[in-house]
């Protein structure tokens, strides 16, 4: 269990959790880009809470994995991050943003509920994510019939699939109501590939932190 000294029990488990934390950090970072410019003021406020929750989840998992969560969050090189390509994409339009939120929440629910046996923190995260799912479903319901949203889901579906390990993907496909993309469509979209968008994101994310010596207080 998560509070025993032998936990995480394996490199695989460690990487799975680090990938989850990196996903939450990066999607939270991307979602926080909407602060002040969301389509409706009331939504702007609500969306910001989601972004904060995501960062909060990342922090909680980093704290499990390291004594210095900020160092783990910010001080790695871009190619040491394990976030899925889906969250790295720069998508500053609402249709793609909501499509990503919706797809990500469906995938994340599968991932997080599978972790609940071995990780009490997963249950906590899952309870908070319930509100994210309500929000994603609400928007999905409103936008599903629009060409903008349908095109966005088409674009992002292959990326969404790679959020999950292979064995969890068929459930995702069933829940989203789509076929799993062929392997050729998934080429270059698996975890472990950080594109130019992520490198730019990492640069900006760490610009202030890198301006002072390591260990400086902020």
């Amino acid at each position: 269990m998560a509070d025993s000294p032998a936990w995480p029990a394996s490199q695989r488990q460690y990487e799975h959790l680090l990938g989850l934390a990196d996903d939450e950090l990066v999607i939270g970072w991307r979602d926080s880009e909407w602060t002040g410019i969301a389509p409706v003021l009331e939504e702007d406020v609500a969306f910001s809470s989601i972004a904060q929750n995501e960062i909060g989840h990342a922090r909680a998992v980093y704290e499990l994995l390291s004594d210095d969560p900020d160092a783990l969050a910010f001080d790695r090189e871009p190619d040491e991050y394990l976030c899925a390509p889906l969250v790295q994409l720069h998508l500053l339009d609402w249709a793609h943003t909501i499509a990503r939120r919706w797809l990500y929440e469906v995938a994340d629910e599968i991932r997080i509920t599978a972790l609940m046996e071995e990780l009490p923190l997963a249950a906590k995260i899952n309870r908070e994510e319930a509100y994210h799912r309500m929000h994603a479903e609400l928007w999905h319901g409103r936008l599903a019939g629009t060409p903008q949203f349908r095109a966005a889901v088409d674009d992002l579906w292959p990326y969404a699939v790679t959020v999950l390990p292979l064995e969890q993907r068929p459930v995702l496909a069933a829940r989203v109501g789509r076929d799993l993309p062929s392997n050729s469509l998934l080429l270059g979209k698996e975890r472990g590939t950080q594109g130019a968008a992520f490198v730019a994101l990492h640069e900006e994310m760490t610009s202030v932190r890198r301006s002072a010596p390591a260990g400086a207080q902020w």
């Binding site: 602060t35 002040g36 969301a38 960062i55 980093y62 409103r142 900006e204 994310m205 902020w218």
Partner: protein
């Protein structure tokens, strides 16, 4: 006497509000009062929304997880404030869409401080600590506004602002007790922001000539607000070893602060849409308003 009992004359209304009376959205309001009120409140709403833009860049660059969360929450509050404020304007007769259109076209105004660039993490601290402090002083002077719906939202706004200043001060404290370079970042930011801060409360017209005070929309004149800011914050700035970049700044024996005359031409120039970042911030906002118009149309259609 209730608002509903006042005779419908400007003079009677004036006496009523000057005696501490408050009115609601359904009450009769003199045309001039209504017009001035809408303009004042709208400018406040615009300012909260425009204030988000200089700060949101730094959310993305926050150097720790805690700072990222705190700054996101602070800016979220500001968006929330603009929602509260535009609702008041809308209930006075001007729709939100119109307010936003007038904002991005440059037709309506927003406060001087949000027309300036932010250059470093030092700005983040100075804005959250000192600009928010200046704003809170103005906001507290609205808590007894003669227009009750506005007074009521000010209560929620002031409650939420209380953590902003603490957050700002915490950011500053971490830097002034950090490396010499970090201390310099704060001093340099203070040097740049002092001018706009001194202009923030507006030029010192006597309060009995200030229609916002006469109508009791606000309960304090401009100079009173500025003196309150100096009283509260100059000692706090100096105790950290920072220097206020005004050699003439000093407190007289009678308690009044003397200072170099703020550049009122600069204030006028900036607030009429000619600040260093005015055009590109309005353009940024206009771009997203336009881009996501389809979303609002879909929401309305259903």
């Amino acid at each position: 006497m209730a608002a509903v009992d006042i005779p419908r004359s400007e003079q009677a209304f004036l006496e009523f509000v000057q005696a501490g009376g408050q009115v609601e959205s359904g009450d009769w309001l003199p045309d001039e009062y209504r017009a001035r009120l809408v303009k004042f409140v709208e400018m406040h709403g615009n300012s909260e929304l425009m204030g988000v833009l200089p700060e949101r860049e730094w959310i993305l660059r926050a150097p720790t997880l805690q700072r990222k969360l705190a700054l996101t929450a602070k800016v979220q509050d500001e968006v929330g404030h603009s929602q509260l404020i535009y609702r008041v304007v809308e209930d006075l007769g001007k729709p939100r869409e119109q307010c936003l259109a007038d904002l991005v076209s440059g037709k309506s105004k927003f406060h001087n401080v949000f027309h300036y660039p932010t250059k470093t993490w030092g700005d983040v601290g100075v804005i959250a600590w000192l600009v928010d402090a200046a704003a809170i002083i103005s906001q507290k002077a609205l808590l007894k506004c003669s227009y009750a719906p506005y007074a009521r939202i000010m209560k929620k706004i002031c409650w939420e602002e209380s953590f902003h200043i603490l957050h700002g001060r915490d950011v500053i404290l971490a830097m002034v007790t950090g490396t010499a370079e970090q201390f310099e970042l704060v001093q340099e930011a203070l040097d740049r922001w002092w001018g706009p801060l001194m202009q923030f409360h507006g030029n010192p017209i006597p309060r009995d000539e200030d229609s916002m005070y006469v109508w009791r929309i606000k309960s304090q004149g401009n100079e009173e607000a500025r003196q309150q800011f100096l009283d509260g914050y100059v000692p706090q700035i100096r105790e950290l070893g920072l220097t206020v970049p005004d050699p003439k700044l000093c407190k007289r024996d009678d308690g009044v602060w003397e200072y170099s005359e703020p550049d009122w031409d600069e204030l006028r120039h900036v607030v009429t849409g000619h600040g260093p970042r005015t055009a590109d911030r309005l353009e940024f906002r206009r771009r997203f308003l336009e881009q996501e118009r389809w979303v609002r149309d879909v929401l309305l259609a259903a």
